[in-house]
Amino acid sequence: MQQTEQKEQQHEILPNEMFEIVGRKEEESEKINKPILSNWQDGWLRLKQNKAAVISLVVILLIVVLSFIGPYFSEYSYEQTNYEKVYSEPSGEHWLGTDKFGRDQWTRLWEGTRVSLYIAVLAALLDILIGITYGAISAWKGGKVDNIMQRIIEILVGIPNLIIIILLIMIMRPGIMTIMLAMVITGWVNMARLVRGQVFKLKTQEYVLASRALGASTSRIILGHMLPNTLGIIIINLMFTIPSAIFTEAFLSFIGLGLQEPLASLGVLINDGFQSMRNQFYLLAYPAIVIVALMVCFNMLADGLRDAFDPRMRK
């Protein structure tokens, strides 16, 4: 007691009278100071911090925009030949030179980029559409249906993709649609497996049971509850599928199974460039730079997206 008084006098501790009971204010303590972020906003915030991914996104957008407006900067069309100006070096008139038929390489480069991107994106989207349907049905039905559907996938996985693609393209005539379809026929398997795994996991979740108890139909549960929760992996997979589709298209064109003249794609351009590499290296260099830039950026963006939306995967 005495001690306390002493300390009070020395101002070491404050007297009780100076305190006032404030009580607990529920609203204050439970108040959320930051705006509520959805999973998507959260992922976007994380993605923005990944410099490599942001730069990749910007470069991809730049290439996409150029592939649309690029050809308009030049007065030549991609199929316009000029036999007096065959293999001319890059100059003010032809920014990236001309090829073996005197066609403007700048225009062909961006036309080709657009065709390659078009094939890749469409193939990836179709992959996903088929993959989701197949995977969701397989997982949702379960049992015998699942068993049979998985056996089919097992057999498909056992066949080297590229061989099937090559055979299919040999049968159908090479063209944008053919290349795309051939890639889709083998490409959806991966997506189907991913979606199946995810739906299997979600199937036993309580909120799905609750939704079913409230009388939701199967399609509603799949579209309304499961799909949004699978969208993350789907988008990540899409981003990994696009560069591999770009590669496959270029690869096919390179071995002579790609688009036919005068159509251009990155693969066709690289093939043409390779043929005349000895003296006209610029014909190979520019399409090669564009394809490498696209592949690097898509891969890095995909990595970034995976880190952002699937933090468990982060390393």
């Binding site: 057999i155 066949i159 055979l167 071995i255 690289i270 394809i291 690097v296 890095m300 390393k315």
Partner: protein
């Protein structure tokens, strides 16, 4: 284990049977023919029939199919249409050596460099080494191997003249194609190894080993590396696939007489029997590799024991 292998073998046979059937009928529906149609038409009726008979084309489709399958079981892939008189099987055998050499060299090179890079990157996490490895890994999977091969050929072969540009004459001729193939493998393995290693380094047994007072190197060699290397077996499948596809273009670029260039040539020449033979060969090779990978995995990692049912 025995039952597992048996089930897989049955599955493999079914798959190969399906592929053989599929390719057979696909090839039959193909437009165009490898023969010079005009010359054929100029032949007398008798000679033409004889010609068809030699390649077994005079019989109805289903008979042709059964014949083909029957021969297939005995390892006979038929006569090549383009390379006159040559059986496809001997054609493949003749061309196998260069492809096998380049493929094996690329696997060895890719595995050794990839594993070392990945380990160093994980051990020196977030340092220059790590970033260097990650850049190599991203570039390695992003740069298409035929683009890389073309650049190698242009700079190293043509401009600087360090190594031969193309053809298959001496051992030096295999160096550039090997490197061009290996870069993708290095990237895949390095990235995988780095992630595995980072995971392993966080495990309790590593902390235990460190707290026992073991030195960094002992922990690394005795505990970390051995555990991190087990899963490498699982990506051998994708690695083999990328080598197979890579060989198609790279053998073409460097004019190597291997099976990859044989395949591309036979596509260009409409040489159907060779295409069918090689398709089967590639599929069988791929499927058997997958089987070996699965069996190896079970042997190396005692935590994973395959049982009969799946």
């Amino acid at each position: 284990m025995k039952k597992f292998i048996l089930v897989r073998l049955v599955n493999i046979l079914i798959t190969l049977f399906l592929i053989a059937t599929l390719t057979f009928f696909l090839m039959k529906t193909l437009p165009g023919s490898p023969f010079d149609e005009e010359k054929l038409m100029n032949l007398s009726e008798e000679l033409r029939m004889e010609f068809y008979a030699k390649y077994g084309l005079d019989e109805p489709l289903h008979i042709q199919y059964f014949k083909y399958m029957g021969d297939l079981v005995q390892g006979d892939l038929g006569l090549s249409y383009y390379y006159k008189e040559q059986p496809v099987s001997s054609l493949i055998m003749d061309r196998l050596a260069p492809s096998a050499l380049i493929g094996l060299q690329a696997v060895v090179l890719g595995l050794s460099i990839g594993i070392i890079l990945g380990m160093v990157a994980a051990f020196r996490h977030n340092t220059g080494w790590d970033y260097f490895t990650m850049i190599i890994a991203v570039l390695g999977v992003s740069v298409p191997n035929f683009v890389l091969a073309a650049f190698f050929q242009f700079y190293i072969g043509l401009k600087w003249g360090i190594l031969p540009v193309a053809y298959w004459e001496s051992y030096d001729h295999s160096i550039l194609p090997t490197i061009a193939l290996a870069v993708g493998v290095i990237a895949q393995i390095a990235r995988f190894m780095r992630n595995e290693m980072l995971e392993v380094l966080q495990q309790d047994y590593i902390i235990t080993a460190q707290s026992k007072g073991l030195g960094d190197w002992v922990v690394l060699i005795r505990h970390a590396i051995r555990n991190a290397m087990i899963p490498i077996v699982t990506i051998l499948g994708p690695v083999v696939v990328s080598l197979l596809t890579g060989s198609l273009v790279i053998e073409n670029i460097f004019s190597i007489p291997g099976i990859g260039s044989l395949f591309v040539d036979s596509i260009k020449m409409n040489d159907y029997t060779t295409i069918m033979g090689l398709t089967l060969f590639y599929s069988a090779f791929f499927i058997l590799t997958m089987l070996i990978v699965d069996i190896l995995y079970g042997i190396i990692d005692p935590r994973i024991r395959v049982h009969g049912k799946e």
